[in-house]
């Protein structure tokens, strides 16, 4: 029982990461009809926004330390962040400690800007080009973006811990009357889950309840007619692209304490997020979210030791296996619309 509750919890958490990335991807699919292979790269750049900000605020100057030597025997220096000089040590430490949450504020404008530049500078010219061309150009862009990151940050993962306040884990077991320590879950992952829920909710509300969202939804359904009605749909689509980039970026920022970011994390997520979007059904936002959670939960169950004893290797293929089964039983994924990306 405890094991199952735990894996559901796990699945929800994993699923929220998948859903968040897939949401941005499907927004671009649905609104612009563009297969964006650079979406994983946007997630990665979001993560590196957090890395960059935490480096910026811990920017430091070297101070010689008396009586100490470095590994070569030269006089050692110690780096003192400028922030110590400005705010004092205690406040400085607190700011550095909270670098990741602070990065959210930093990442939103940066990612919006990147998204808008990408759309205006590149993607715009590919709306009427075949999907294959879109794949090639966005894949090329993804490689370029990740190589730039690799050039400046190296290939090794960079630790970006969560604030101290979120260290450790919450004991659900004790709270729910099971034995203590049987169901524990890290605070930061709970934060991530809540954050994902808020973002997903916000995107839905935005599309559902604002005029802007209504126009975009109309544009998704029939772009030409909306254009004929004299509405500047292009500008709105540009904003949507910026929004999708920001969602991917925020997913990346919040993910950094869970796994240390590295330059190829975007590619690692790319295939998975495509599978999620397609299983959810092309052009369907709820489908993407649902598929994200479904695959997250199933993946968690498949990684249980008891399951693997019966079916070794199931954890290796579960996502793909489920994808095949769903696509064969439901032709357009869970909630896909007819005719979207079917030819």
């Amino acid at each position: 029982m405890e094991a199952i509750i735990l894996q559901i919890l796990n699945g929800l958490d994993k699923g929220s990461a998948y859903a968040l990335i897939a949401l941005g991807l499907t927004l671009i699919f649905g609104t612009l009809g563009v297969v964006n292979f650079a979406h994983g790269a946007l997630f990665m750049i979001g993560a590196f926004c957090a890395v960059t900000l935490s480096r910026l605020i811990s920017l430091s100057h070297e101070v010689a330390v008396e009586g100490k030597v470095d590994f070569l025997g030269n006089p050692a220096t110690e780096s003192v962040p400028y922030i110590y000089d400005w705010f004092g040590r205690a406040t400085g430490d607190a700011i550095i400690d909270w670098a990741v949450p602070l990065s959210i504020l930093f990442a939103i404008p940066v990612m919006m800007l990147i998204g808008v530049i990408m759309e205006r500078g590149l993607i715009k010219h590919f709306y009427n080009r075949p999907h294959a061309d879109q794949i090639l150009v966005t894949f090329g862009l993804a490689i370029v973006l990740q190589e730039i990151i690799k050039y400046y940050y190296g290939a090794n993962p960079i630790p970006t811990p969560a604030p101290d306040a979120f260290r450790g884990s919450f004991d659900f077991g004790a709270a729910m009357g099971f034995d203590p320590n049987t169901i524990i879950y890290p605070y930061w992952r709970l934060v991530y889950f809540a954050f994902a829920a808020v973002i997903i909710g916000a995107v839905f509300a935005f599309l559902q309840f604002t005029t802007f969202g209504m126009v975009v939804r109309a544009g998704m359904a029939d772009r030409e007619t909306v254009g004929l009605l004299g509405i500047n749909i292009d500008r709105r689509f540009t904003i949507m692209f910026g929004l999708a980039a920001a969602v991917a970026g925020l997913a990346g920022v919040m993910y950094t304490p869970i796994n240390s970011p590295n330059y190829h994390m975007g590619m690692d997520f790319l295939v998975l997020s495509f599978v999620v979007v397609v299983v959810g059904g092309m052009g369907s936002l709820p489908g993407a979210v649902l598929a994200g959670f479904l695959l997250g939960i199933l993946e968690s169950f498949a990684s249980m030791g008891a399951v693997l004893e019966v079916l070794p290797g199931l954890n290796q293929i579960i996502i793909y296996l489920v994808a095949i089964i769903i696509l064969l039983t439901r032709p357009r994924g869970l909630m896909g619309r007819k005719g979207v990306m079917e030819d």
Binding site: V35, L122, H125, R129, P130, H131, A132, D133, I135, L136, V137, F139, G140, L141, A142, I143, V144, E147, I148, Y151, M267, V271, F274, V275, V278, V279, M282, P312, G313, Q316, I317, Y320, L321, A323, I324, L327, L328, P331, R332, G333, M341, E342, D343
Partner: protein, 401 residues
């Protein structure tokens, strides 16, 4: 001739000439010059050019004609390789049975995957093929280790003794064609040039020519026309009473067998197979090769395969030392400056160049490298009658959408 029209026959002859003379064409720079770094005329890379050419030609039969974008084609290359490898380990070190085995295994696998995946179209089809390929990769890497060798893959070992061979105790078998070692080479030194004519390369090249010829025949056959019909409007086909499924399945299996042939040849030329051959990036690579060269054109995929493999093998080997040699003639400050500019794009940064080229080609040459060639040709043949242009275009069958 050979059942081809004049234009196609000319194309085949050009490809024949290029492949046969490749050792010369790919080695334009004298060995002692700094530019020798750009020579690609050594056996391994020449073999890779033609083998990945076959892979891309096969992929193009599916994608270029029917428009079905398979994102899991590397799986067929992989199982073809494993099939060929086991044939060599167990049956004979002769490459012919191994290659045939590779084609058969890949064909059977393609029937199974194609039968299931072709029930869906568009991106749903792509994801289904991707899912099959990723499962093959993941299982080959882990639980199938006893069959696939897992991470370390399969090589021919001194303990292997194939049925039809008489190896000495402890001797490591070598891939051969009726006794001729795949690595046997004839070398010709002309002045400062050294040209290598490698047996394995020519065998692979013959396979490539046959594959290319068959591809032309398929493109020009009624079957090919039917496949194009699938691409342009499948619904209309249904209404005219035609079922597209058998045609697309046939195209899928043929293209899977091409991949299996490429996989078998890879093993024949270099007796090694590992699971990462089936990873999704490998599937993506063949998609990129085809689009980069020009999907739907006959020669495009081969050019695309050559371009990507060239960059992977040549660019990645240029290091800072070599740059210093090249730019040694410049004054020191300028030398360092130029090297700082160039360095991010070569050696460990070769991926960056690759990405930029993908973007540049698709932005400026929507029809791929083939279109670039056509544009150059047009530039030089302005004086020709205007009608020629149209004829050229027609011969190059329409680029895929």
């Amino acid at each position: 001739m050979l059942g081809l029209n004049k234009k196609d026959f000319r194309l085949l002859m050009i490809v024949l000439g290029l492949t046969m003379l490749a050792p010369f064409i790919l080695n334009p720079f004298p060995s002692s010059s700094g530019l020798a770094q750009f020579n690609a005329g050594y056996p391994d890379l020449m073999q890779r050019f033609v083998i990945f050419g076959i892979f891309a030609i096969g992929f193009n039969i599916l994608f270029g004609l029917t428009g079905y974008l398979s994102f899991g084609h590397a799986a067929f290359l992989g199982v073809g390789s494993y099939g060929a490898m086991w044939m060599m380990k167990l049956f004979s070190l002769n490459v012919i049975p191994a290659i045939i085995m590779g084609v058969i295994v890949a064909g059977i696998f393609a029937v199974a995957v194609g039968y299931v995946s072709l029930r869906r179209s568009g991106i749903y089809f792509s994801i289904l093929t991707l899912a099959f390929a990723q499962m093959s990769y993941a299982l080959a890497y882990s639980v199938l280790t006893p069959i696939t060798g897992g991470e370390t893959g399969l090589q021919i070992k001194s303990t292997d003794s194939p049925l039809l061979s008489n190896l000495a105790e402890g001797e490591i078998g070598r891939a051969n064609l009726f006794g001729m070692d795949m690595r046997a080479s004839y070398e010709m030194a002309v002045g400062d040039w050294l040209f290598t004519f490698n047996a394995g390369y020519y065998i692979a090249a013959v396979f490539m020519l046959i594959s290319f010829y068959l591809a032309i025949r398929i493109f020009r056959s009624p079957f090919g026309t039917m496949l194009r019909a699938v691409k342009s409007n499948q619904t209309r086909m249904y209404y005219t009473g035609l079922n597209a499924r058998p045609y697309t399945l046939a195209a899928f299996v043929i293209s899977g067998m091409y991949a299996g042939l490429a996989g078998g040849l890879l093993v024949a030329m270099d007796t090694q197979v590992g699971p990462e051959r089936m990873f999704w990036t490998a599937s993506g690579e063949v998609v990129l090769m085809t689009i980069l060269g020009g999907a739907g054109t006959l020669i495009g995929p081969v050019l695309g395969a050559g371009a990507i493999k060239y960059m992977e093998n040549i660019l990645s080997k240029i290091n800072k030392d070599i740059l210093h040699q090249w730019f040694a003639f410049l004054p020191d400050g300028l030398e360092d400056f130029i090297i700082t500019l160039v360095y991010p794009f070569i050696g460990k940064g070769w991926h960056l160049t690759l990405g930029l080229i993908f973007m540049a080609v698709v932005i400026f040459l929507p029809g791929g490298l083939v279109e670039g060639g056509q544009r150059i040709k047009r530039l030089f043949s302005r004086k020709k009658k205007p009608g020629d242009d149209e004829a050229d275009k027609a011969s190059q069958s329409t680029p895929a959408e």
